[in-house]
Symmetry: C2
Subunit: 348 residues, 2 copies
């Protein structure tokens, strides 16, 4: 197994380092030969090469069987609307060039952390749903986009083809078949032409999955119901921008955002990353919580290599670290806390 | 005062009827001559005329000093992506033709209802923020939109001009000056060209309001933070689609969605409506909660007629109905509940 490591910015390098320790330990225990190749991305890559997703980094990803990604983003780029190169462009280009069209974001609870949820216990306890967010289409890539000549008007284009919708929706239907058999298609079909194509296409596909119950909900309604009754959901499918907003909203529900992993899947390439950001304030302090990245490595074993036992071994040791309190200060709650690197060593 | 009444669909007619009772009582008490003119909109108007916003309804609104609006939407149109006429089109056309470019949506708590919030008390108690959502631009109206010839591809256009941003942003700045002096500009400037124009334009305006602190946040981050720390916000400004999603998300925070009013303001026209929907399951049963519509009438006295005392009188009697338990079954919590019409009579 050849794994590309893209640590990125902020706390990215520190959390990736812990995942590497764990992946190595799994390789040793289960007898897999695992090699790693590291490459820069985001602000780190701009600083080095002027490009947030350099060609060489892309080559490294193409060669790899899976990509482990940290985080990108640097505040020095955030409040400068005129910046020519932005770290996020690297992320978007990477998604597109690697064809990572499906972002898989599970939301589930850890019994020892669910009390940290902003929601009341009875609303959130046992929540278990997963978003399939389309990741390489929509307003993120649609053309034309830009300004008129005088710069007084700006425009973006949202665009979706039936094939883009179908391949994402199929993943959702298949996931629902293995879960509680409920699929929610999230759109804004009462306003947007793209959403009407989404709804129509999903309605057509539904007959191929007669065991799955399909519900259609407007994005504004889902933004409400996710908070009111998150347990009502099983699998949700949606377009890129709605997915961006709703998966982030969903990430705070369980009270364990620092632990939530994700996968971005394409036909050829597969990438795994924590859902948290680059958290620049914590960078270099050895205090960042590595568990989301470690659990992303677990998703990697499952989704990229179909190795469920290896994935389970990682989930198990993460649960053990929680049970025994070998955790970073963000979740130690006044008890003894451990450094990022110490948690990584312990897990490995 | 000439008030246009647009009851619309579902529970709309019932809740509007209660607001009318209250407005009449206020007129009598404070010595205002108030006349009403009613007109159909939404599914109700389609059934009557084939058009969800008939010309005659538009005339009635233009003649009026303010519009009181119920709700629109009928499930028979929701799951038919090919329906040629949809009730929502009436709403959108009304907003555009009346030039209602600013949707004002306050979120605040009622001490007697805050325990109904899905959020923990310490997160939500005392929440007090207001959204200014741009309402006549963006992807709701941008051209081109539609399908390619074969129908296999759909597209929408998001478009904003500097003037559209400025007039909405000024309302936000001015509201912030009268409140806690914090303005949050919500955008997706790391991805969208329209968002970069928003951010740039607000940055330029900010120097005219030196007493207001301006923060810039991405829409996905706000979707999270609204749930984590809703008390952090004061005034938020945003574009049409983000506002649609975030104001609905915000509406569940206080635990009193059935009580939340809103205003949609333009240069010439002003419309007031509850934020809840048409709630078709409850239509005709005399059980819908009329308080949001009644509080929208309070906003009408304040925003359309600059009559603060009248607005306050309505807020006061609503608080009294809550304190004395003269409320509909959705908030009576097992105690005696009252019919929609009984609550309206009592308030009047
Ligand atoms: C950084 C940004 C471009 C990105 C997105 O909007 O997709 C991020 O919010 C995410 O969800 O991964
Ligand atoms: C019904 C729909 C078109 C409308 C919107 O999206 O603006 C509604 O959700 C709202 O917020 O008033």
């Amino acid at each position: 197994m050849n794994i590309a490591l893209l640590p990125g910015d902020g706390i990215g390098p520190e959390v990736i380092a812990q995942a590497v320790k764990v992946v190595k330990a799994v390789g040793k225990k289960f007898g897999h030969k695992i090699s790693f190749e590291e490459a820069p991305v985001g602000a780190a890559a701009i600083d080095l090469t002027g490009d947030p997703y350099p060609d060489n980094t892309h080559e490294v990803c193409l060669r790899a069987d899976a990509v482990l990604f940290g985080a990108i983003g640097d505040p020095k780029y955030d409040n400068d609307p005129k910046a020519k190169v932005r770290p996020e462009q690297g992320l978007l280009r990477m998604r597109q060039k690697l064809g990572l069209f499906a972002n898989v974001r599970p939301t589930f609870t850890f019994p020892s952390l669910v009390h940290k949820s902003p929601l009341k216990l009875e609303r959130v306890d046992g929540v278990d749903f997963v978003f399939f967010r389309e990741l390489t289409g929509g307003v993120y890539f649609g053309e034309p986009r830009g300004r008129n000549e005088q710069g007084t008007k700006a425009f973006d284009t949202n665009v979706y083809s039936k094939e883009e919708i179908i391949r994402l929706a199929r993943m959702g239907f298949e996931a629902a078949q293995k879960r509680r058999k409920l699929l929610t298609c999230v759109d804004k079909a009462n306003v947007m032409a793209t959403s009407r194509l989404w709804r129509e296409t999903v309605q057509e596909l539904a007959s191929e999955y007669p065991d799955v119950k399909v519900e259609y909900e407007f994005v504004d309604a889902v933004a409400m119901r996710l908070i009111q009754w998150p347990k009502a959901y099983d699998v949700l499918i949606t377009e890129n921008l709605f997915g961006d907003i709703l998966t982030d909203e969903a990430s705070v529900i369980s009270g364990s955002m620092g632990l939530m992993p994700s996968a971005s899947l394409g036909t050829e390439n597969k990438l795994f990353e924590p859902i948290h950001g680059s958290y620049p304030q914590a960078a270099g302090k050895d205090i960042a919580n590595p568990l989301a990245t470690v659990l992303s490595a677990a998703m990697m074993f499952e989704y990229a290599f179909d190795l469920k036992e290896e994935a389970q071994a990682i989930s198990d040791v993460v649960n053990k670290s929680l049970a025994e309190g070998v955790v970073t200060e963000d979740i130690s709650e006044g008890s003894k806390s451990y450094k990022t690197s110490e948690v990584g060593d312990w897990l490995a």
